[in-house]
């Protein structure tokens, strides 16, 4: 199947190095300490952060750091076919673990010992790149909750189909069976916190594909920074500053 036509356009009309449209909203869930909604094209996720708060299970308490917990759930209607089990399946457990480890690396947990921070991510619409959208939403939600972090964490995916590196795969491109590289970075510190790939790639092409994903992450970081600045301006305005 042709994923990049001879004119160089993909199935949804994008160029190979073009990301899908980003849209973010801070404060999507009013009852949470921090929350955000993040859209990458048709993929739509909501993240809510509760914490820092008292540890619920005493046995899990850590004396010198905050405990970070994360749960990833997909809504029944998020994919084309109705999924019967929204949570508890292996893919959800794996992604929960991945998001937790990624965020744990950047939160300054030593500032909040003996406490717990819960990150809940809910996928409303899944069209490829849910992992990345969840990490971006979680970053915004943590910023909204005022939790101290080393840097923003942004994530983007890329692949390699029809001998072309493609940025930000959607569901159709993802299920093509080609390689799918997901990268998460700390943009200011210029460090990689998450790197996952499935299928196989020759080493030199892998460098290109990963570089492309990293560029995508930086673009997401710029967007997220803008959204946060807008949000802060609004808060200032409301306070009458």
């Amino acid at each position: 199947m042709e994923y990049v036509n001879p004119e160089g356009l993909r199935l949804d009309g994008r160029r190979p190095m073009e990301m899908r449209q980003l849209r973010a909203e801070i404060g999507a869930v009013s009852g949470a300490d921090g929350s955000a909604m993040f859209e990458m094209g048709n993929t739509k996720v909501i993240a809510a952060v509760y914490g820092p708060r008292e540890v619920q299970h005493r046995s899990q308490m850590v004396n010198d750091k905050a405990l970070i917990r994360c749960e990833y759930t997909m809504a029944n209607f998020s994919t084309g076919d109705r999924t019967r089990k929204p949570k508890g399946d292996r893919r959800s457990t794996e992604i929960s673990l991945v998001i937790r480890q990624t965020m744990e690396a950047c939160i300054l947990t030593h500032l909040m010992p003996r406490s717990q921070i819960d990150i809940f991510v809910q996928v409303l619409q899944a069209d490829g790149g849910t992992r990345s959208a969840c990490i971006n939403a979680a970053t915004l939600a943590l910023a909204d909750a005022g939790i101290p972090m080393r840097d923003l964490v942004t994530s983007c995916s890329s692949g390699y189909l029809n001998s072309t590196p493609l940025l930000d795969l959607n569901y159709v491109e993802d299920s093509a069976g080609g390689p799918d590289v997901t990268v998460g970075i700390l943009p200011k510190l210029d460090k990689v916190t998450l790197l996952q790939m499935d299928a196989k790639l020759p080493m030199d092409i892998f460098e290109n594909v990963m570089q492309l994903a990293t560029e995508g992450c930086k673009a997401v970081a710029n967007y997220i920074r803008e959204v946060l600045i807008q949000n802060t301006k609004q808060l200032e305005h409301r306070r009458g500053v």
């Binding site: 909501i46 749960e71 819960d118």
Partner: protein, 309 residues
């Protein structure tokens, strides 16, 4: 006394932002304030006892569903999606389609919904909604006309899957879900089906599902749900989670446009005198007209916005 009440009012408003009342709990002063306010027909947020919070409806939020809606009542937010798939009717009702309602409480709404914590509430909500909308075992009295979902008697029918997701919780989830289901169903388009004629009686007929033509679902008989929460000696409508924590009992009444009761649930441990229940039902009937009209106008506005965009 008055000065103390004002300061608690300020505290309540500030603590509502960023605090989850269920976790923190209410002080004795706050509880007295809520109960006293309700007795004087002036609730914490300034509403009267029978006033709803501002309702915000958005339709067509889930692109791959046949119909969907997002309803916000104050800070309670729910999303409902309706998907139609071809299926086989059950042998006991060959001329009717099937509808299944399933509600899920997302952990984003409250930390205790993590893992399997939200299962109990989800099952309770799903059961209450099924009871209100789907009628009895024979299908009589259903808010949704199941016969309209049949394609070929005994062989092919539409299976409607109504999935609800609670994203944010601040009391009165059942009413919000009822409103969202009504909005999602009015947004639902069932594809037109052409049945190949002359099929042998024991084989599955060929059907051609149209991608272009859609039939709008008829929602005039779909009821709304009004929950009346009894606090002290008075009933309020559209309780917030603070107010719900003070309730002695609650009655949820499902009423359709004709003013007929489609379902009734009582929650809470305190016993109620039968005359009180009858009074609550008549209050609910009175409130339901306003809610229906408000909901219909919001849904029409949402559909108009969706068509524009």
């Amino acid at each position: 006394m008055f000065l103390v009440d004002v300061s608690i009012l300020y505290f309540c408003n500030v603590s509502a932002i960023g605090y989850y009342v269920g976790m923190v709990g209410l002080s004795v002063g706050e509880k007295h304030f809520i109960q006293g306010g309700i007795a004087q027909d002036l609730r914490t947020d300034g509403r009267k006892r029978l006033t709803y919070r501002p309702i915000f409806v958005e339709t067509g939020v889930i692109a791959q569903a046949n119909g969907s809606a997002r309803v916000k009542m104050g800070r309670t937010e729910v999303i409902v999606s309706v998907k139609a798939e071809l299926g086989r009717p059950s042998s006991s009702a060959p001329d009717k389609g099937k509808v299944s309602i399933y509600i899920d409480c997302s952990p984003t709404a409250a930390p205790q919904f993590e893992g399997r914590g939200g299962e109990e509430l989800s099952m309770e909500l799903s059961a209450a909604l099924r009871q209100c909308l789907l009628g009895g075992k024979s299908g009589a009295g259903a808010g949704i006309n199941l016969s309209s979902l049949s394609i070929v008697d005994g062989k092919i029918c539409w299976d409607l899957y109504i999935d609800g997701l609670v994203i944010s919780m601040d009391g009165n989830i059942l009413d919000a879900l009822g409103a969202a289901i009504k909005a999602a169903l009015s947004n639902t388009g069932i594809p037109k089906v052409n049945v190949a004629s002359a099929a042998p009686s024991d084989e599955q007929p060929e059907v051609d599902v149209s991608d272009e033509e859609f039939l709008q679902f008829d929602t005039t008989a779909v009821p709304v749900i009004i929950t009346l929460t009894k606090i002290g000696r008075h009933y309020i409508v559209d309780a917030t989670s603070e107010e719900e924590s003070q309730m002695s009992s609650a009655v949820s009444v499902s009423i359709n446009r004709q003013g007929l009761i489609c379902g009734l649930t009582k929650r809470g441990g305190t016993g109620l005198d039968p005359s009180v229940i009858l009074d609550m039902i008549s209050v609910a009937k009175h409130v339901s007209e306003q809610l229906m009209n408000k909901l219909d106008s919001e849904i029409a506005a949402a559909e108009a916005m969706e068509e524009e965009s």
